[in-house]
Subunit: 332 residues, 2 copies
Amino acid sequence: MTTIYEVSKLAGVSLATVSRVTNNSGNVTPKTREKVLSAVAKLNYRPNSMAQSLASKRSNSVGILIPELHGPFFGIMLSNVEAVLREAGKRVIITAGHSDETKERDCIEFLLNSSCDALILHVYSVSDDYLIKLNQGSIPIILLNRFIPEMADQCISLDNGHGGYIATKALLELGHTELAYVSGPRWKMDSFKRLAGHKKALAEFGLSYNEQLTFEGTFEESSGKEAMKYLLQVGIPFTGVVCANDEMAAGVMETAREQGLKVPEDFSIIGFDNVSFSRFLHPKLSSIDCRIDEMGQMAARCVLKNMYGETDIEVQNSFEPNLILRESVKRR
Amino acid sequence: MTTIYEVSKLAGVSLATVSRVTNNSGNVTPKTREKVLSAVAKLNYRPNSMAQSLASKRSNSVGILIPELHGPFFGIMLSNVEAVLREAGKRVIITAGHSDETKERDCIEFLLNSSCDALILHVYSVSDDYLIKLNQGSIPIILLNRFIPEMADQCISLDNGHGGYIATKALLELGHTELAYVSGPRWKMDSFKRLAGHKKALAEFGLSYNEQLTFEGTFEESSGKEAMKYLLQVGIPFTGVVCANDEMAAGVMETAREQGLKVPEDFSIIGFDNVSFSRFLHPKLSSIDCRIDEMGQMAARCVLKNMYGETDIEVQNSFEPNLILRESVKRR
DNA sequence: ATATAGTATGTAAACGCTTACATTTTTATT
DNA sequence: AATAAAAATGTAAGCGTTTACATACTATAT
């Protein structure tokens, strides 16, 4: 392996000068730069990044923790984070927390031990207090899809309440007055807020919320099926179903089909997340777009701004979801 | 930041001893270990990984290059690679090559500059020669989903030919004799081999291959739609469609529905990849399972074996795909 | 008690860079 | 031509570990 020392020797300059040209820092005469560059080329020199990190106290790597590496939602997020970070020459170290508190902590610990310059965390299970404490440390942290008042300007989050609100409102405006709701686990803030938005829309239209028409699922397709079975068995009539995510909506639709019910003729349905496969469903699923691509990019930009001193970046902490209407809804 | 030096001081031992206990290397008296450990705890000491890397000439990080970070296929792969690598305490640095030669090279360059101990590459666009040359270098490389004879034991790949073969054979055995084929880009080895498998199965059943019933798509849903339009317009009758991936199969199914054709009544269809959303389709799509989870794990294990000296790992270089029959096919 | 292996600990030299500071060279000013 | 200021380059001290190697202990056998 060739080192900076050999380059400096061949080029006939000092270590410092070589470092200056390879880092484009400081002033170097064009002639000297040329000499160095040609030596670099001749020796096929690559700076040793470990040494660079140690000496500069900066690893140029950013740790990412997301619930899952696969899945339409997280995948897009990750994809966008990586794109802007790599564009800026930063390394991306990934870990998956699987929505489990112990695992999430382990991952954070792992990233902390990895000399990351900053962390982008998409966590569910770890407590606010834990994160606030973590934030006292020396390493900058960005929270994705989570809002904690004490660290508001490090949070990039979706207005889930508004999402739940516009989803429900969309059906209400189409004349539906009897709505079922398929929620995610209520302890997850996202689920909770989406449901709150649902209730708000109902109230605004002068309708009462019926707990019996609400099913608490797991965000998985299977629980969408269960939800539909439950709703049919309860027997309270409804003409619209609002789901807290698209997977569960797919489950609802499948069970509906098995029962001979047609969407949107027999009932309208709307999902949440606007995940890629929702357009593969039949009928195509209406949904709430979460702008996860933008959120991912923003998280990365935040890091660039906070840690790497890119000043001309303006941060947007909160994102408003968009309503996407497709074939799965129709006027009552 | 507390350093090993402060720990050694507080514990009243030398640097070397601290290093020994934090790394569980060498022999240390229980009593000494205790002293060190308590000093570590008291000072909340974390070894500086950059310094460790520099001194030990090992970064404990593995570079990954995959075409996309999102998408059902690559996501699962990545997920499994990460899981086994992190279990072993290795850092995973990810990059996305977007199936573009320049980008793929850039990513590899980037990873090479990142002091990775090993690379796992899932690349399409870069040439065999390039990879062979890369392989001459000092850093171990594993190729995912690609086979190059010269580096056979560093390749983890699917038997695509066999996949194409069993997909087609499945329809033939159900009595279909007129089959259309929706291919991926033929320059991609995967596509090419799948098609070859298709032809082989036809030949085995004494049927002739009709180029006119083959459409070369892009692996995207939209080209599945185009494929179906093309096939209908050509007007040659067929009762089965074999697709080189599930996205295109979804496109075919959608266009079929638009044209009033029913699956599997009017024709049977089978996809490839057995991607997660294929069970959300209606009817549920039959497909070829690629065991990408296992392949991802295996790639990671290869690295563990080749680079990190885990001896008791046995490597499987080639994976046989599995046929998954669902609602989208029926006997002729 | 003494020699002999071990075993446990310590010493100090890398590892390959960056960077503050010192020195030299160049350019501009008078 | 002399001087000051600015620009280019060099010097060398870290950065925080790991790891040969050296040394100091223990325990066992004599």
